[in-house]
């Protein structure tokens, strides 16, 4: 691993900056919290951009060995091409969410302090730190800690408004995530017992296809799937994501579920390459296909906008799992095409879904409800939010130029090239269903208001513009070339070379 990597303090900075900021916030309190956020958000973005630039420019992995102790004694942080891209997307979405949430979660001047702003900002930074730890972690136990931090930061975000329904949703989320954590932890223990290490690079050289590794891998994967809300383990997602305040929903849907998905990929492609067989890959993608089809149909059947978007997340997460059969097989260039397509799906969905939840939040704020049947006339009152929703929707449908289109194109191409046409059929059907649910909402929004239309509350223009900018991010992702990305391959080959040894 040492042949193509350089030492850098940047990965650890990516984790420590938000983590320290979070603790500082708890110390200072009051209005200082927002000011602190105002400094920390751009600083974190700069760190993520620096990591991205360094990996891009040097073309190899950045490594930080904590305390100078080499693994397996010490722990290492690795930022490969994928981590760098994930960190950048995370930073951009977190910053946009911060801008969007600013007016909603600010302490009123000269009045008693409210609890919600302090909680929101600390949770946002905690999620950020956890996500960065997930993407640069190089050791399965470290990753477990990062995953727990992610869950415990995400759950209270659901219950921020304090209604009975949202608290129930948050508890559901917490309990199910706990089940997932326990399952992951047992798997980790089994692996440690069998191979004596949890360092991903070392493990990848030691893991053998035998019952103990199969059971461990299965426990860890299903535990992570529960946290990713892949069908049929999605019970907690719709109420949680629909119940959270808009900025919370945006972060939860755009980023948090992707954290556990990222770990599943790390597990199969980096920690245990060679363990993934045809049947398991098809099983994982089969669950993904069920998620795509049933999630989209369920989205079509929703009468509330936020629930529709939440079920759309259930469907869109399904696409990610197509990466296992399509990128897992050793058939170049199809597997690189699928690899890029899968990650682009993750990135563009992050932008599109964040924008959608923001727009839906503003619409609900203006109308006082989010019933789809009564959206008439909203396009006239909130044209920018409606446009943001529509652009994000086009990316979900896979209309060019958008990240969603490029992702779908590459995944389709890969499935055709590998003769796995059934995944292509699922991708296309998912696009048809997404088209239907997006068009229903946009059509309703552009229709004239009904006779009994209630007056709308004013909505901040700045927040509308943030939602639109994030949606434009999803569109701009469509400008990447229709080819396998070299950046996303950085740091992959050395692990594979190790496995082949």
């Amino acid at each position: 691993m040492t042949d193509a990597a350089s030492q850098s303090v940047l990965p650890v900075l990516g984790i420590m900056l938000p983590a320290t900021g979070m603790l500082l916030m708890l110390l200072v309190g009051g209005r200082y919290v927002e000011w602190l956020a105002l400094i920390l958000l751009p600083a974190g973005l700069a760190v993520a951009a620096a990591i991205f630039a360094a990996v891009w420019r040097e073309g190899h992995t950045l490594i930080y060995v904590v305390g100078g102790w080499q693994p397996p004694l010490g722990i290492a942080l690795r930022a490969d091409g994928l981590s760098a891209a994930m960190m950048l997307v995370t930073a951009v979405i977190i910053c946009a969410t911060g801008l969007f949430a600013g007016p909603q979660f600010s302490q009123p001047r000269g009045r008693p302090e409210r609890r919600a702003p302090l909680v929101f900002w600390t949770l946002l930074l905690a999620i950020w730190a956890a996500l960065n730890a997930v993407v640069v972690g190089a050791d399965l136990f470290n990753l477990y800690v990062a995953l727990e931090l992610l869950t415990f930061a995400a759950v209270p975000l659901v219950a921020l408004t304090g209604g009975t329904e949202t608290i129930e949703a948050a508890l559901r989320y917490l309990l199910f995530a706990l089940l997932g954590s326990v399952s992951y932890l047992i798997g980790t223990v089994l692996l440690f017992a069998a191979y004596g290490t949890l360092d991903i690079a070392l493990l990848s050289a030691r893991v053998r296809p035998e019952p103990i590794s199969w059971i461990a891998a299965s426990l860890m994967t299903i535990g992570l799937i529960a946290k990713t809300a892949l069908f049929p383990l999605h019970l907690w997602l719709p109420p949680a994501h629909a119940g959270a305040p808009a900025p919370g929903s945006a972060v939860l849907s755009a980023l948090v579920v992707k954290g556990s998905f990222f770990l599943i990929v790390r597990l199969w492609f980096d920690a245990m390459p060679g363990l993934l067989n045809l049947a398991a890959a098809q099983l994982l993608a089969g669950l993904g296909a069920a998620a795509i089809l049933l999630g989209s149909i369920l989205a079509l059947r929703q009468s509330r906008l936020k629930l529709l978007i939440a079920y759309s997340t259930v469907a869109q997460v399904g696409y990610l799992f197509l990466i296992f059969p399509l990128a897992g097989a050793a058939s170049e260039p199809a597997s690189s095409i699928a690899w890029t397509g899968g990650w682009l799906q993750l990135f563009s969905h992050a932008f599109a879904k964040a924008a959608m939840f923001m727009a839906a939040g503003l619409i609900a704020e203006a109308l006082g409800h989010d019933r789809i049947a009564e959206l008439g006339g909203i396009a006239r009152r909130l044209p920018i939010s409606t446009l943001a929703f529509a652009l994000a929707g086009l990316s979900l449908m896979g209309v060019p130029p958008s990240g969603g289109f490029v992702a779908k194109w590459l995944l389709l191409l890969a499935s055709v090239m590998q003769g796995q046409w059934w995944w292509a059929a699922v991708i296309l059907l998912g696009g048809v269903l997404a088209g239907a649910y997006v068009l229903i909402v946009v059509g309703k929004a552009l229709a004239p208001a009904g006779a009994a239309a209630a007056p709308t509350a004013p909505v901040s223009r700045r927040r509308e513009v943030v939602a639109l900018t994030v949606a434009l991010g999803a569109v701009l992702l469509g400008l990447v070339p229709l080819q396998p990305s070299e950046l996303l391959q950085i740091g992959r080959l050395d692990v594979h070379a190790l496995a082949a040894r």
């Binding site: 296809p209 799937i225 369920l298 396009a379 006239r380 060019p400 389709l412 088209g435 400008l479 229709l482």
Partner: protein
């Protein structure tokens, strides 16, 4: 030729700029008045485009991953479509003034126009798919504009057909790219590579079905009569005239005329023939003039598909230009026939103009339609096939006489908005263009000389189907002297059933979901999945 670039850019940027202006309340109120201005750059581009030369804007030049080209086929359709959008925009203006849905209508109108104009200029598959999709989806808003129950039903059916067509098109495009070296996306390179594609049959099937859905070939036509009957007149005019040609240009661009695979030409021609006659037969049983015109579109697009299919059978490279010429005439004539429904054209001299336009579709001598028919007879010329062309002309004449009768007998089938002078002028200009544009283009195609059109024999060849059609109509009227009562889309009684079934299915999925989201089930699934995944790993 570089001096055309700004016009080409303006063709697409002006609609985008107008759409952006819709974000501002003050501008939004003025937009419906300005709709007619937007296609002007497109019209200019098409008119001054160098004849026969190709202008290519490669993707690298724009940095957007989009590439454009302007060739003769594209320019003809672009020009005709732009003219229709312009005059229909003038027409729409009067009806939209100070109505509550005006801004929404303008947005859908601009989007459909943007997509429609762009599709004629696309040089690669992604660009094509982008504009094709924009136009197809935005047309939904035009169809459901008045929010009535039939409009919403039409919109539903239209969206279902459109989304399926989009998905098939995407699948076809991906297969094309997969068979091309370096997975290129340029239209020319992928069509060339199709000959060696391992998925040639599937690709052809997907592309032809996708475009057949768009142009309404039987049995994929069910959306068309519903949509055109439900849409406001101006919208029906641009949809039937211009928007449907996205499917025609798709067939022209993507059918491999140079190296056609066997049987596909026959299949397309056969489907076209069925549509050509079915459209006439079904149209005769309808009384609403809009519906009759919609079925005439089904029939006319069938004729076009037959021409393209024949060209594919004969590997005739001229087919593209001939089909584009026929389609260009259809853009103008179908657009103006729809607009005629809103200007009280059921009596006086205007009725004669309408009659000339309508019978032009059957090839009435001295109309643009006669030129269009003469052009397509080239690939259809010999023997039995020539007879089919004549029969189709007779059938069109019968349907058009029926249309005129419906127009005269039932002028108030739909209360027409007050016809202003401006509207009538716009319509008259369009009617003139139906003759002038084909006459101006015809000599440039160099297919045949004027002498071959104006001789006594060709004139008679063009005239007798009209006479036969007139006689048949008279005979029909004396036997059965009532207008028919069937509604648009009556053959599509299945859509209610399908809707019901899909609702049931949706309910079932919701029930499954509710069950899965119970704690005991979810916990059971969790454990079950762990075991199944471990079991799957065992299988090696």
């Amino acid at each position: 030729m570089a001096d055309l670039d700004p016009w080409l850019a303006a063709t697409l940027l002006l609609p985008i700029a107008m759409l952006a202006a819709c974000g501002f309340a003050r501008a939004r109120a003025r937009i419906p008045d300005l709709l007619w201005l937007v296609p002007l750059p497109a019209l200019f581009t098409a008119v001054v485009a160098p004849d026969g030369a190709e202008l290519v804007l490669p993707a690298a030049r724009l940095g957007l991953g989009l590439s454009f080209r302007l060739d003769r086929v594209g320019a003809m359709l672009l020009g005709a479509a732009a003219l229709l959008w312009l005059l229909a925009g003038v027409y729409a203006r009067a009806g939209l003034r100070r109505t509550p849905g005006a801004a929404a209508f303008a947005i859908w109108w601009l989007l459909t126009m943007l997509g429609n104009l762009g599709v004629f200029l696309a040089h690669d598959m992604v660009t094509f798919y982008l504009f094709f999709t924009i136009a197809s989806l935005a047309a939904y808003g035009l169809i459901v504009h008045d929010q009535s129950a039939p409009a919403r039903r039409a919109g539903r059916v239209y969206v279902a057909f459109t989304l399926i067509s989009e998905a098939m098109l995407l699948a076809g495009f991906v297969l094309l790219a997969a068979a091309t070296p370096q997975h290129g996306i340029g239209i020319d390179e992928v069509v060339d590579a199709l000959a060696q594609s391992p998925w040639r049959g599937t690709t052809m099937a997907l592309l032809i079905t996708a475009f057949a859905l768009k142009i309404g070939l039987v049995p994929l036509h069910a959306w068309m009569p519903l949509a055109y009957s439900a849409a406001p007149i101006a919208a029906a005019s641009v949809l039937s005239g211009a928007a449907v040609k996205a499917g025609v240009i798709g067939l022209i661009r993507f059918l491999p005329f140079a190296a056609p695979p066997p049987h596909w030409g026959q299949a397309l021609a056969a489907a076209g023939l069925v549509s050509a006659f079915y459209g006439v037969g079904a149209g005769l049983f309808r009384a609403n003039p809009k519906t009759v015109l919609a079925y005439s579109s089904v029939s006319q697009m069938g004729v076009l598909a037959t021409v393209l299919g024949m060209g594919l059978m004969a590997a005739n490279r001229h087919t593209a230009i001939i089909a584009a010429f026929y389609a260009t005439h259809h853009v103008l004539v179908k657009g103006s026939l729809f607009l005629a429904l809103g200007i009280a054209a059921s009596r006086g001299w205007r009725l004669w103009v309408v009659a000339a336009l309508a019978l032009g579709l059957a090839g009435l001598p001295l109309t643009g339609g006669a030129l269009a028919k003469a052009a397509i007879k080239l690939p259809l010329s010999d023997g039995a096939i020539g007879l089919i062309a004549d029969l189709s002309a007779v059938a069109s004449a019968i349907l058009m006489f029926h249309f005129l009768r419906c127009l005269v007998c039932a002028p108030d089938a739909e209360p027409a908005p007050p016809a202003t002078r401006l509207r009538r002028r716009a319509w008259l200009l369009l009617a003139l263009a139906c003759v002038a544009v084909p006459a101006a283009l015809f000599p440039r195609l160099e297919l045949m000389t004027w002498g071959e059109i104006f001789g006594p024999k060709p004139l008679w060849d063009a005239a007798w189907p009209i006479l036969v059609g007139g006689l048949v109509t008279l005979a029909r009227q004396s036997f059965y002297d009532r207008l028919p009562v069937r509604r648009a889309g009556a053959e599509l009684g299945v859509d209610h059933a399908l809707l019901l079934i899909s609702r049931r299915f949706g309910d079932a999925v919701v029930a499954i979901d509710q069950h899965l989201r119970q704690w005991p089930t979810a916990a059971l699934m969790f454990v079950g999945l762990v075991l199944v995944l471990a079991g799957a790993l065992l299988m090696r």
